[in-house]
């Protein structure tokens, strides 16, 4: 470590400490944006001149070029270390842009292609008795029933388990639960489906498929998410609230139901909604457990039941005579699914922001 030459600093105190590195000036505030736009324009112009212009290539080359450009520019004005900082900042920002590109492309395509298949028929008719065409009413109803049953199974179990872990648990059972909830989070969805199938096959014989089996498979996936979310919000309820309640002579179970749960209510609702959003689009476990069917079935305890995700898969996989119409319906189902997921996500966050209890 050599101390910086103090002559330089003393002589020119207004210059930056990077002065010693060479350069010593500073780029204007718009420099990164300027470099990026300039690089894009340059890349586009070169490609156009060569005759193979595409937007994707322009973005790729432009991004790479902008990193080099900002480095060279900063190197001459600001010195080596600043230049490296700027180049890496640019690289991280473009990597972020590259990571968001699929999301934008995906939303754009789903909306564009899905809109073609969305019409009145899509929501009001089923696929029963039609060779080609029909709607997805049976799939929408099936999705609501299967997901609803899964929520009804998962929320009480998950919530009580989280209460156990946070309020009661100690010793080996608690440790085991913490560990195995982690394990459960990692179960692949198809394995959850196979489990539900294997369970029911034992009692009902091979080939059994019904709505409730799908709900049980989804519960295996949903319970650990609910526990994680509930544990998180129960943990932040401060102990002095519980102690104040005990001091008034309130028994523990009433303290939990009247003090702890209301305090964390908004967080719990948000957690359940996000967990629901995670399972509502599951396909693989339902393909195995609820099967493919083209008519409406509202009884989860008997017979196959269609749902939106499997419907979309099936319209893609075995399209009708009018291939494009089938694909359109697959995309329409995807659009409805994404809308459900987004609405659940947004409402969950609004609920949290609006109703969360201020804890001081």
């Amino acid at each position: 470590m050599t101390p910086p030459p103090d002559t330089g600093l003393a002589a020119a105190p207004e210059r930056s400490i990077f002065a010693q590195e060479g350069g010593g000036g500073a780029l204007p505030g718009w420099a990164p944006y300027g470099a990026f736009v300039g690089a894009l324009v340059f890349a586009g112009a070169v490609e156009a001149a060569l005759g193979w212009f595409t937007i994707a290539l322009m973005l790729v080359f432009g991004a790479l070029l902008s990193i080099v450009a900002i480095y060279a520019w900063s190197r001459t004005v600001e010195g080596r270390r600043r230049a490296k900082d700027r180049a890496i900042t640019m690289a991280i920002a473009t990597a972020f842009g590259a990571s968001m590109a699929p999301l934008i492309s995906l939303l754009y395509e789903v909306i564009k292609r899905g809109a073609r298949g969305i019409n009145w028929e899509f929501f009001t008719t089923t696929g029963r008795g039609v060779v080609s065409g029909g709607g997805a009413q049976h799939a929408i109803v099936g999705t609501l029933i299967i997901t609803g049953c899964a929520v009804v199974i998962s929320v009480p179990i998950g919530l009580m388990a989280a209460i156990y872990m946070n309020e009661y648990g100690r010793g080996p059972l608690r440790r085991a639960l913490t560990f195995f909830v982690d394990v459960m989070t990692g179960i692949p969805s198809i394995v959850a489906g196979l489990f539900a199938y294997a369970l029911f096959e034992l009692f009902f014989g091979p080939g059994i498929q019904m709505g409730i089996m799908g709900s049980i498979a989804l519960s295996v996936l949903m319970i650990p998410i609910v526990i994680r979310a509930a544990e998180e919000v129960l943990k932040i309820v401060p102990d002095h609230l519980r102690e104040a309640s005990y001091a008034l002579g309130t028994p523990k179970w009433k303290t939990i139901t009247k003090v702890v749960l209301p305090t964390s209510f908004a967080g719990l609702v948000t957690g359940v909604m996000l967990a629901t959003a995670r399972i509502v689009g599951e396909t693989a476990p339902l393909l195995v457990t609820t099967g493919v069917v083209s008519s409406l079935n509202t009884n989860p305890f008997q017979g196959r039941m269609q749902n939106l995700a499997v419907y979309a898969y099936n319209e893609y996989r075995s399209p009708g005579v009018m291939k494009q119409a089938s694909y359109d319906r697959a995309w329409a189902a995807a659009l409805v699914l994404i809308a459900i997921v987004m609405i659940l996500n947004v409402i969950a966050r609004l609920v949290y922001r609006r109703y969360k209890t201020e804890i001081r």
Binding site: F96, M160, V181, V220, T283, A309
Partner: protein, 317 residues
């Protein structure tokens, strides 16, 4: 002032006063909590037990009895290879991007818009896998065809780009890209959390010494977050290994074991193979698929344990 005996257990006193009713309420409620806890353990044990009992007939069956005429190990080995190849490929693509996304949100983007950006990254995680599958086959696959032809022409001497390049885009490379998009939010969520927790005094100390932002990130944020990023990557890998629908839709499979990422002939993955074959199977074929599901379960468990082990080890230090 009345004398108040502080040694008396107030709870007991009150319980006695109300005739034990509240104690019964306590007992019922705590029992319900314990039952829920035990149910979860039983459920997980059930997953393992039912997979083993239903898969066992296929594992012990001779090659001739099984539908494909090959033994269980011969059947599952290429699938396990394809599963690991797709998963590792996705992880290699996703980890650097996820770290960049996390750094961008925590340290580079203005704090005011960082929250919104975080919300969009989380949305990526919420999109159902079937939609990624449709996007992969209809949008990304066709778009990747020229790029893969270019790779074959320029880098064809590498075994992974040996080609012949697929003309439909239903290749392992596209699957890896789609899986990478799917696991990126998982890894970046973990990385984001730990990067944001880097002690302020370390960061400010580095900057007080004259470090640029990148030097500060390199010397404080990245070392602090390293083990969490590794474990996040393993969690993402676990997710990619078990991913079903996107692979089932996109990948064109032939069953052979190959590292060639851009050709039409790819090894399938365990999960995709189950989804593709389950609806048309019966009898021992079902047992065979469940047995492969058991193998997948074991692989993902091992990956997750490894991730937890890394976290636990770094917490001790």
């Amino acid at each position: 002032m009345a004398h108040f005996d502080t040694t008396t257990n107030a709870g007991q006193l009150l319980a006695a006063a109300s005739g034990g009713r509240r104690r019964r309420g306590d007992r019922i409620f705590s029992n319900a909590a314990v039952i829920a806890a035990v149910t979860i353990l039983a459920l997980l044990a059930g997953v393992a037990i039912f997979l083993v009992t239903e898969g066992f007939p296929a594992i012990t069956a001779s090659a001739a009895e099984l539908p494909k005429g090959e033994s269980f190990l011969d059947y599952v080995a290429p699938l396990a290879f394809g599963t690991c190849l797709a998963g590792v490929l996705a992880m290699i693509i996703a980890v650097p991007l996820a770290v960049a996304v996390a750094l961008f949100i925590t340290h580079i983007a203005p704090p005011r818009i960082a929250l919104t950006l975080g919300f969009f990254v989380d949305l990526l995680a919420a999109i159902p896998s079937i939609i990624y599958g449709l996007w992969g086959i209809f949008v990304l696959g066709p778009a990747a065809v020229p790029a893969m032809k270019w790779l074959e022409a320029k880098l064809g001497f590498l075994p992974i780009f040996a080609g012949p390049a697929s003309i439909t885009g239903r290749t392992m490379l596209v699957v890896g890209l789609v899986l990478a998009v799917m696991i990126l939010p998982i890894i970046s969520a973990v990385a984001r959390e730990v990067f944001a927790q880097t002690p302020r005094k370390l960061q400010e100390g580095a900057q007080a010494l004259g470090a640029t932002r990148w030097e500060m990130i390199r010397t404080t944020v990245l070392p602090f977050g390293r083990s969490s990023v590794i474990s996040g990557a393993m969690l993402g890998l676990g997710r990619a290994l078990g991913e079903t629908m996107a692979v089932a839709i996109i990948l064109s499979v032939s069953g052979g074991v190959t590292f060639n990422l851009i050709s039409q002939a790819n090894p399938s993955t365990i999960a995709a193979n189950i989804a593709l074959n389950f609806p048309e199977s019966s009898g021992l074929a079902i047992n065979l698929l469940i047995a492969t599901g058991l193998v997948l379960f074991v692989i993902t468990l091992a990956t997750n344990f490894f991730a937890r082990w890394i976290i636990a080890r770094s917490e001790v230090r």
